[in-house]
């Protein structure tokens, strides 16, 4: 069972059972939808970005524990942060998920904190797309608001 404990760390299960920032934001917040056609997971990210700062963020939708926990942890990590810092965290996260190369452009002081608990997902390649769904949708949302 040691393998599974690596995947389903307590902090992940905590975010899954009690998701943070779950819900919606009214306009003018921007809503971006993402889905994982292979597993049917669907997610919406609501972003309130003003003056280059992510003032508020919410997510809704449904998916497995990994996709839900990852989205929840993401919202706590990016709320109140400048957009540049959010992009840097997203990049670091995708590097941890091995879907982006570390090209050295992300400063070493960009830390993932609790999100590092998702490291165990890398050992299960089919689950990586679950972990990344919320993040990719967030990045799309940032592009939409032109931030």
């Amino acid at each position: 069972m040691s393998n599974l404990e690596d995947l389903y760390r307590e902090v992940i299960l905590d975010h899954y059972r009690t998701p943070r920032n779950k819900g919606e934001l009214p306009p003018p917040a921007v809503c971006t939808e993402g889905s994982n056609p292979l597993c049917g997971d669907e997610i919406k990210i609501f972003l309130d970005v003003r003056d280059g700062i992510v003032h508020d963020v919410r997510f809704s939708g449904h998916g497995c524990s990994i996709s839900q926990a990852s989205a929840s942890m993401m919202t706590t990590a990016v709320k109140g942060k400048p957009v540049d810092a959010v992009r840097a965290v997203a990049k670091r996260f995708k590097q941890m998920m091995t879907i982006e190369e570390d090209d050295g452009s992300t400063p070493a002081d960009v830390k993932l904190g609790d999100i590092e608990a998702l490291q165990g997902v890398v050992k299960y390649p089919v689950r990586i797309k679950c972990a990344v769904l919320g993040w990719n949708t967030l990045l799309e949302g940032l592009a939409t608001v032109g931030a």
């Binding site: 597993c39 049917g40 997971d41 524990s65 990994i66 689950r127």
Partner: protein, 395 residues
């Protein structure tokens, strides 16, 4: 393969609706053919080539007998069942359907029996109608005759790959014919598990795959009545399917070569022939009897242990269903269920099973699916039941 251990523990393969494992005689037949009998077929006249051609045609005859086709000329080998259904739509459909014509499908089809028709509908301006399901996920036949009115084709599955529901193929073929439509059967899920008799069904076309019935991947089967095949234009063009090619055109070869352009999957067809022998010797009634017993056992074991914590979709009567279960467990996402089961070497599939319209009706984005075959046994079911306990301890 199924004796294999992973992490020092036996494996419990419960994904046979996806693809089946292969008996030694299939593996041996293919390897022996490659070692001792391999040659291209149909073109060359030397002894080895003609022996290989005979072996290939013998496999075709076995498949024809297996589904009780009137003639091996009606059996066409394709790449997979998906290609078989595309052949039906692109060859027969393109030649026979025009703007405003109606094709009827059901809400429990696999994407392979939906998308080819949608592609043709977009091109030709066809109308697609859908046979709905009842509350317990059987086909709702109350309005079938009116749905079929004016239809040219009714294409449906003989057994749902998600629910295991067995459809009344004979009744559906009769209804199609009453309306003047042809009946196309997607037999992927039923042909490996029970007796197939295209003549008793009164079907016009049938598609199924080798890899779900103990044969290798890389070969699918398309059967159609000879009169239909004769009138259909070829699907793929190339070598092997022509009798004459001139600068200003070509003429087609006889059946079934007309539909087998290019070098076919010779080795795989030999393997499929061995799989048909294997299944025929056991007897499809025996396969079916085993699966009914096992389905009954699994249903009772899961319900006794978990009661209302587990929802098994579809019919409860094992006589009305195949040994394929989709289930929901205590609100845990199917990916998480299958991930935990994997730790116990219990292999189930999680996802939408290429049947998204049906998943929408079930009201789930995904289900976990356990599917069994003739080599599955009560140990596999017991392992599933035990492993589910671990799912509830984590989530």
């Amino acid at each position: 393969m199924l004796q294999r251990q992973v992490g020092g523990k036996p494996i419990h393969y419960l994904d046979s609706a996806n693809s089946s494992h292969k008996p030694n005689r299939v593996i041996d037949a293919m390897s022996q053919f490659m070692r001792e009998g391999y040659a291209p077929i149909g073109r060359s006249s030397y002894t080895l080539a003609s022996d290989a051609s005979n072996a290939y045609e013998a496999a075709r005859a076995k498949v024809a007998r297996f589904i009780n086709a009137p003639s091996p000329r009606e059996v066409v080998f394709t790449k997979n069942a998906t290609e078989s259904l595309n052949l039906a739509a692109q060859s027969w459909g393109r030649a026979n359907l025009n703007e405003g014509d109606v094709a009827v499908l059901t809400h429990m089809e696999h994407h392979a029996n939906i998308v080819p028709w949608q592609m043709l509908a977009a091109e030709k301006g066809l109308e697609i109608r859908w046979v709905p399901l009842t509350a317990d996920f059987q086909l709702d036949l109350t309005s079938l005759d009116s749905l079929l009115r004016g239809a040219k084709v009714f294409a449906f599955t003989s057994m749902s790959n998600v629910l295991g529901t067995i459809n009344p193929v004979r009744e559906l073929c009769d209804a199609a014919h009453r309306a003047g439509a042809i009946a196309i059967v997607d037999g992927c899920q039923s042909v490996p598990h029970m007796t197939t008799d295209v003549q008793a069904w009164g079907a016009d076309m049938l598609a199924f795959s080798s890899h779900k019935m103990c044969g290798p991947t890389g070969v699918g089967i398309f059967w159609a009545r000879e009169s239909l095949l004769d009138a259909m234009p070829p699907f793929l063009g190339g070598g092997g399917m022509i009798s004459e090619v001139r600068l200003d055109g070509f003429t087609c070869a006889e059946l079934p070569a007309k539909f087998e352009a290019g070098t076919p999957p010779i080795v795989e067809v030999i393997g499929l022939g061995a799989a048909v022998d294997f299944l025929s010797e056991i007897g499809m009634n025996e396969v079916r009897r085993h699966e009914i017993e096992l389905t009954n056992y699994a249903y009772r074991a899961l319900k006794d242990r978990y009661g209302d914590d587990i929802t098994i979709h579809g019919a409860t009567n094992p006589e009305l269903r195949g040994a394929t279960f989709s289930f929901a467990f205590r609100g845990v996402h199917p990916h998480d269920v299958s991930q935990v089961l994997d730790q116990h070497n219990v292999y189930v599939r999680a996802g939408h099973h290429c049947a998204k319209p049906l998943m929408r009706l079930i009201g789930a984005n995904a289900t976990a699916r356990a599917s069994m075959y003739l080599y599955s046994n009560e140990n596999d079911v017991d392992a599933l039941v035990e492993a589910l306990d671990d799912v509830s301890s984590i989530f």
